[in-house]
């Protein structure tokens, strides 16, 4: 979940707050948490991954203002396009979309600049998929000669990137700068790279990597800005541009649109404002929240959530989401905002009145019965993770069937899924040489096994082992368990690499082959660093059901 740290001196006036006293409570309405309150800054965690508008100081402040004062207008009076951008057809496969606007009349200050940078980082990295679907650039407007061309160019084109001393080619930027190294992967499949150039031929930026030093450096005091967003997904690009335009408008800037001209002759005036309209019937609302919707002041409630165009009809309500949101994809989303506005803690909890009968899963009931017998036999239950290593299962324990591997393990230590529980018991034995003997151990747990060649299935197994105990020791435990479960059991000699030849057997329960029992081979014990004889058995728990 994104976290932002913002200066209190900037944020509190913007949010219309006198102090941070009620901040924690107020943030709940935005699904946000107060993560840390410091002398000069506040850290906020934003839990809704579909609300990138909240990942900036302006967005959180706006939400709190509306909660208190009701809905605001957004980008109602954007000026007609003052500039345009020509998009080249070669970008279609690389990075086809761009949205842009200008913001004038608000003088950039330190906090405002920091907020622009936060927006650039947070929105482009998370919502913009590490700048793939959206990357952001800000520029002083007056240095640019329109129209701007968004086109492709050779990797050998050079310019002076922001923060570098000299000119570099685009290839060098990708190889030598921090941003270049980080985002080079986005361009690795292409022969040519995207570039923004103005009509005088000056490079504005190398999207999605770096702005130019000469045209792309915004400093406090600037009051005329140009902003562009490029990316591979139109809605991500346009929503990002809309959010930034709303943020700058909230700070006092006048927003003007920019016209984008595509090579096929189509034009788009950006940002394109969303106005997602949601309708829910009173019946739906009442049924969902458990309160009579007609008795609620839905207009006020939705206004707190910054909806506009609220129409309260005969049997339904319609409302328009603000343009910086695009997460209203179902009437349920409108209903949730009503619930939040009512306040969850203002609703009276009730219990479902319909009677239902509880029960444990049959395999868990069986496990409980068998475990009770094992405890009676003096066995101690152990638990180990399901993810384990090939080394433990196949190399040290010599399990004949290979376990199922994880294709993207974090470490080899957890590189396979347990297919057998005996290695877990041996691992405990190898870590417990200093614990008083004898050791009678058991574990009950899920394992993942192959079914045929391709499919896998999950099975609950039981494994028992005796440290400083021989074949007879585990044989007796299995014997008494089967006896008390009313099962016929027998052993059929079966050599297995895990066990001493002639001292292992297939376990037959009611005539069916179920598991394996034996005295571990000294080679296995040596591989585990175990210095006492160990015997064990393993079988599917279901085989003990009878």
């Amino acid at each position: 979940m994104p976290k932002i740290e913002i200066p209190l001196g900037d944020f509190l006036p913007l949010a219309g707050l006198e102090s941070t006293d009620d901040l924690e409570k107020l943030l709940e309405s935005l699904k946000a948490e107060l993560d840390g309150l410091y002398e000069k800054t506040v850290k906020i965690e934003l839990n809704d991954t579909n609300r990138p508008d909240l990942w900036t100081a302006e967005g959180v402040a706006r939400g709190l203002r509306c909660w208190k004062n009701g809905a605001e207008s957004h980008l109602d009076s954007m000026a007609d396009p003052v500039a345009h951008i020509d998009v080249h057809s070669d970008l279609k496969e690389i990075r086809p979309y761009i949205a842009a606007f200008t913001a004038t009349g608000w003088q950039v200050n330190d906090d405002g600049l920091e907020s622009l940078i936060t927006a650039q980082e947070k929105i482009a990295s998370s919502f913009g998929k590490e700048r793939k679907t959206a990357a952001i650039g800000f520029y002083p407007l007056d240095g640019i000669s329109f129209p701007v061309r968004y086109e492709t160019t050779s990797p050998e084109t050079s310019f002076q990137p922001l923060g570098e001393e000299t000119e570099m080619t685009l290839s060098e930027v990708l190889e030598k700068t921090e941003a270049g190294l980080k985002y080079a992967g986005l361009l690795s499949n292409f022969q040519e790279y995207p570039i923004l150039i103005d009509s005088s031929g000056a490079v504005l930026s190398f999207p999605p990597v770096l702005n130019s030093h000469s045209t792309g450096r915004v400093v406090p005091g600037d009051s005329r800005l140009f902003c562009e967003v490029t990316g591979t997904d139109w809605h991500t690009v346009n929503l990002t541009a809309t959010i930034l335009a709303c943020n700058l408008e909230d700070r006092g800037a006048v927003i003007s649109t920019v016209e984008i001209r595509y090579p096929d002759g189509e034009t788009t005036v950006t940002p394109v404002l969303y106005a997602d309209t949601l309708t829910a019937t009173y019946k739906e609302i009442s049924g969902m929240i458990g309160m009579d919707a007609e008795e609620l002041d839905i207009k006020t409630l939705l206004s707190k959530m910054d909806y506009c165009g609220i129409e309260v009809g005969e049997d339904s309500v319609t409302a328009v989401m603000p343009p910086y949101r695009r997460d209203g994809i179902h009437p349920r989303d409108l209903m949730e905002d009503i619930v939040i506005a009512i306040g969850l803690n203002n609703m009276t909890p009730v219990l479902p009145s319909e009677y239902t009968v509880g029960s444990a899963a049959p395999v868990e009931t069986l496990a409980r019965s068998v475990k009770a017998l094992l405890v009676g036999a003096g066995c101690e239950e152990i638990m180990r993770p399901i993810l384990t290593s090939f080394d433990r299962i196949s190399i040290r324990t010599r399990t004949p069937e290979p376990p199922i591997r994880i294709s993207n393990p974090m470490t080899a230590e957890y590189g396979v899924v347990s297919s057998t529980l005996l290695p877990a018991l041996l691992e405990v034995e190898s870590s417990s040489g200093h614990a008083a003997f004898p050791h009678r151990l058991f574990t009950v747990g899920e394992v993942l096994c192959r079914t045929g060649s391709a499919l896998c299935h999950t099975q609950m197994n039981l494994a028992v082992s005796t440290g400083d105990g021989d074949f007879g020791a585990v044989h007796s435990i299995l014997g008494i368990i089967c006896h008390l479960r009313g099962l016929e059991f027998s052993l059929k000699p079966l050599d297995d690499p895990r066990f001493i030849p002639g001292r292992s057997a297939a376990v037959l329960i009611n005539g069916e082959e179920a598991g394996i029992l034996g005295e571990f081979h000294p080679g296995v014990l040596e591989a585990w660093g175990i210095t006492v004889p160990v015997a064990g058995f393993e079988l599917p728990l279901e085989s003990l059901r009878g």
């Binding site: 049924g287 309160m291 994880i406």
Partner: protein, 521 residues
């Protein structure tokens, strides 16, 4: 029990008291000789009697005696010491050390140190003509011979305190505390005490006389009736027992079972599902778009190529796909992207317990119905004090015609009081991809204070509609790890699955301690 002090007399105590009672008092050495005990037994029995005030010390004295060490005994055999022999040689006109050292009576080094000692004591002095006698009597060295060597040769005990001051000082110098094998003298300190029996001792002896004391009650004593004539030695019952190791359930498994019991008692049926899942059941069926950040390759474990789970029914697959792409029949517009069927079929280790709920929704669940699952889940996290490679999630669903938000809050309130034993709780708006509205439950736990205990919400229509579920469904999940750690007295989550049996044996079996409904918690 032979080492245990009992109120009845131990045989050693009885023997010693008998001797003391006969003699009134006596020294410890006399008692040892008189009773025939070895030194250790006698000391032990005396300590027991002192601690029970059955005997007391009336007088104790430390004596310091001098014995010849190995070197001293060697000198005694020679009939002289190097110092005396050297003085004799000087008297006989030998006036240089090298000349004296030709005499093999003693070693060169012994002659050397003897001369050093004589020079230091000013008995001998060096002049231009060689060595000259200063003190004809031989001073302290003659005195040592007469007051130590001579009596020692007669087997007499020599008390250090009775020796001349100078002699005693010289002897102390020559009796090192270490390296006694090369010492001329050995000084021994011994404390001897005079002990007498007390009235409590006489009483105890009195009551013990004439009766046999029974220690361990044996079959033979019972069979013979011998116990009728004896008394039982009283055990000291307040000493700690010896530690035994017993068969037991793992405390964490017990904790999970107590959660299972609670949920059953609230009318929930348990769900079970596979450890490995297709992305379909793990995420798609839960309306998590395929581009969702939590579905990144780095958030789930993928199985090796060629290992799969059975694909979902074809028509269900189409409906889920439609819900994602354009909303299908759900009444919404969907996520507006191109759904990839191949992605849906990829096999991962279950990353959320909600996959179980998805499967339950898709297999004709009871309506009304309540379900829960205690599911092993796998997250792509570094293992540390708060993360295990796989962990249990407790979650479930509630289906019913009448179900609404207030029931969801009612259920969460029940979890707060029944499962966590919470005194206060609150609801906070939350975000989960598959529920809308979504709620977090924060509880004030009696020990842990405020913490986020779980999340819940109403499943989105995009989740239920493709499964053919027309009634509202509550989905809920509880995070119980912190409660488990507290219940079991641990602070590191890795300790829950520790492979060290010695440490496991120290874990407390108190899993029910933190679950609500226990009045004594």
């Amino acid at each position: 029990m032979s080492e245990t002090v009992s109120k009845d007399l131990h045989p050693l105590e009885k023997t010693l008291l008998n001797w003391l009672s006969e003699h009134g008092s006596g020294s410890d050495m006399e008692a040892m000789e008189g009773t025939g005990m070895d030194e250790g037994s006698c000391r032990r029995a005396l300590q027991w009697l002192f601690s029970r005030e059955m005997a007391q010390v009336v007088f104790s004295e430390t004596t310091v005696t001098v014995e010849l060490g190995p070197v001293g005994s060697f000198y005694l055999e020679k009939g002289t010491t190097p110092e005396l022999a050297l003085l004799e040689a000087v008297r006989n006109g030998i006036s240089s050390l090298p000349e004296i050292q030709k005499n093999e009576l003693f070693e060169r080094a012994q002659w050397g140190s003897a001369m050093g000692a004589l020079l230091k004591a000013r008995i001998l002095k060096k002049s231009s003509e060689g060595l000259i006698l200063n003190d004809l009597s031989g001073g302290v060295f003659s005195a040592i011979w007469s007051s130590v060597y001579s009596p020692a040769s007669q087997g007499e005990t020599i008390h250090l305190s009775e020796l001349d001051e100078k002699v005693a000082a010289e002897i102390s110098n020559r009796a090192p505390k270490r390296g006694k094998s090369r010492a001329e003298f050995v000084i021994n300190e011994t404390t001897s005490s005079v002990i007498e029996i007390t009235s409590a001792g006489r009483e105890a002896l009195e009551s013990a006389r004439g009766k046999s004391t029974i220690g361990i009650l044996t079959r033979e004593i019972l069979a013979s009736g011998e116990w009728k004539n004896g008394s039982f030695r009283r055990y000291q019952v307040d000493i700690p027992p010896s530690r035994i190791h017993i068969g037991r359930l793992h405390p964490y498994a017990m904790f999970l079972d107590s959660v299972r019991d609670k949920l059953q008692a609230m009318g929930f049926q348990e769900m079970k599902g596979p450890l490995a899942e297709s992305e379909f059941w793990n995420s798609d069926a839960l309306f998590m778009p395929q581009f969702h950040p939590a579905r990144d390759i780095h958030d789930a474990y993928y199985l090796e190529d060629g290992v799969e789970v059975a694909p979902p029914p074809r028509d269900l697959g189409s409906k889920v796909r439609a819900a994602h792409e354009n909303g299908g029949n759900t009444g919404g517009r969907g996520w507006e992207y191109s759904f990839e069927w191949d992605r849906s079929l990829r096999t991962i280790m279950r990353s959320q317990g909600t996959a179980l709920s998805a499967r339950t929704l898709g297999s004709n669940p009871d309506i009304p119905g309540k379900y829960f699952g205690i599911a092993k889940c796998f997250r792509y996290d570094q293992v540390d004090a708060t993360h295990l490679p796989d962990f249990f999630q407790v979650e479930g669903i509630v289906l019913g015609e009448e179900i609404n938000m207030r029931h969801l809050l009612g259920l969460l309130k029940l979890f707060a009081t029944e499962v966590a034993g919470a005194t206060e709780y609150k609801f906070v708006p939350a975000y989960f991809p598959f529920t809308e509205p979504s709620v977090e439950l924060h509880v004030k736990h009696p020990t842990l204070g405020w913490f986020e205990m779980g999340g819940a919400g109403l499943f989105r229509r995009e989740v239920c509609e493709p499964m053919g579920i027309d009634v509202p469904v509550i989905a809920w999940g509880l995070g119980l790890d912190r409660m488990a750690l507290l219940a079991l007295g641990l602070s590191d989550i890795r300790d829950l699955l520790n492979p060290d049996l010695a440490r496991l044996r120290e874990m407390k079996s108190t899993p029910e301690k933190l679950l609500g409904g226990d009045e004594n918690a």
